[in-house]
């Protein structure tokens, strides 16, 4: 069980120099996979850093499995070294001077050799063990960073957009690996993610942050499939082209990586121009589903 109740004044990034308060109180079940969802600048990364002990909150308390990690009133603030955490940084933060094997084994002692070898084998890093970070692809770097973060068998795994910048195949592969590792090691995971598919796939629980406050908390379905969209298929799309054909308008839309033509009325296209972002909504009864 992970409980925290923290407060921290943050400077917002960007042109407006106003500050806002990160203020959150919640409990996470031990062994759960939790996603942190929200716009950039809503305090997600800061929350991870506070839990890791890399950023000090102004006030509050953090208790992990009965151990107090931070308590502003009693002046308790465990340094990151003494918290049972794994932290996967957005830019991986691999040590350039160490091989893949030494990066993963960095946190391990000389007695953990068997575990290190098992870990490398389990995550398919064995062939890369002698390679250095500079010679790895983005996907490989992310895998090494993930494995390094869990090598110490932490109680709490903190992931800052772990699988961004991966193509879809690699993403799925790493997601499977993450699920497998969590089942095996039983850590609690807190993951920042912008990818809804990923959140649905990995997380049992979602915390949605808005401007430093907890806006919603629940299962992915509870948070994202709210009543007003029930029964409708909503898709964000970008307008590529608007053509007039006979009596109808044809809109070419970019949805993800696919281009789709839809028919639109005069009213609908009146204020549209190529480049606009639109939401298209369709009835979701009995669609055809393929694999």
């Amino acid at each position: 069980m992970i409980e925290f109740d923290i407060e921290k004044t943050l400077q917002s990034v960007g042109r407006s120099r106003d500050s806002f308060a990160l203020q959150m109180q919640t409990k996470l079940d031990g062994g759960a996979f939790v996603a942190l969802f929200g716009r950039s600048g809503s305090g997600k990364t800061t929350l991870l850093r506070i839990l890791a002990g890399l950023t000090k909150p102004d006030a509050g308390r953090i208790v992990v499995n009965g151990e107090v990690w931070f308590d502003a009133q009693n002046k308790i603030d465990l340094p990151p070294q003494r918290r049972s955490i794994g932290f996967m940084f957005q830019d991986y933060a691999l040590f350039p001077n160490l091989s893949v094997r030494d990066n993963v084994g960095y946190a391990l002692g000389p007695h953990d050799k068997a575990w290190l070898n098992e870990l490398l084998a389990m995550t398919g890093l064995e062939d890369l063990r002698q390679r250095f970070p500079d010679s790895l692809s983005g996907g490989q770097k992310q895998r090494v960073a993930l494995v390094r973060a869990i090598a110490r068998k932490p109680q709490l795994l903190l992931l800052d957009e772990p699988l961004s910048a991966l193509d879809i195949d690699m993403r799925v592969q790493l997601q499977e690996q993450l699920i497998h590792l969590q089942q095996r090691l039983g850590f609690t995971a807190l993951m920042v993610s912008h990818d809804l598919g990923e959140v649905f796939k990995l997380a049992q629980h979602v915390l949605r942050l808005e401007h430093g406050k907890l806006a919603q908390s629940g299962t992915p379905a509870q948070v994202f499939l709210s009543a007003r969209h029930a029964g409708k298929l909503n898709v964000r799309a970008q307008v590529l082209d608007i053509r007039r054909e006979d009596v109808i308008n044809v809109l070419s839309l970019l949805i993800g990586a696919e281009i789709v033509d839809v028919i639109a009325s005069d009213d609908e296209v009146r204020n549209l121009k190529p480049g606009d972002l639109v939401t298209i909504s369709a009835k979701a009864f009995s669609p055809l589903i393929f694999r």
């Binding site: 990151p80 070294q81 160490l98 946190a107 110490r152």
Partner: protein
Amino acid sequence: MNADSLGSVFDWEPLWLTFKLALVTTSVLLVIGVPLAYWIAYTRTRIKPVIETLISMPLVLPPSVLGFYLLLAFSPRYAFGQWLQDWFHLQLVFSFSGLVIGSVIFSMPFMVQSVQSGFQSLPVNLLEASRTLGKSDWHTLFRVLLPNMRPALLTGAVLSFAHSIGEFGVVMMIGGNIPGVTRVASLAIFDEVESSHYAAANRYAAVLFVVSFTILFAVYLLNRRRGRAV
């Protein structure tokens, strides 16, 4: 090596002394300059600009000014020098140890600034990642930070070494030009010129020129190759 083995005209002692001074100075600077640069690079103290200014002072100050104050400080006629003499039986003025101290202070900016910018060019994430992996900052310094900034360390060491070879003003003020103790090559050149021994002066000067050129050239070559490799 002494004068007898190489002919009575040319005395190798000043050159040997010069390189000994440069080597000792550089070693001392590595030991104290790296922690100092680390502290400056990561500290948030408000007096940081004051410290940085003090360390950079030798870059703009005439060496004779520094030498003058060190002379006063080391002299047993004044409080600090007296204290050193009474408590440690240490006389720094007109001694090799005194030269080392003066030289260390004088070459400090070359070491500290190179190493400091080395630290600052590393991603902060490396230090933080190491902390989240349970390692002390001390461990991180030696296992991660320093190995990833070897060019900066090399540059700092070489500049300090080369700069110590070129020392004149400070050495002149606090060394006293004692043969075999504090008479380094740059002073020997001055002496030889004063007594119109241009040939001897030229030999010292040529050796210093060639050695300095070789050292600096080697560093630029190394850094260039490293730059290409990455």
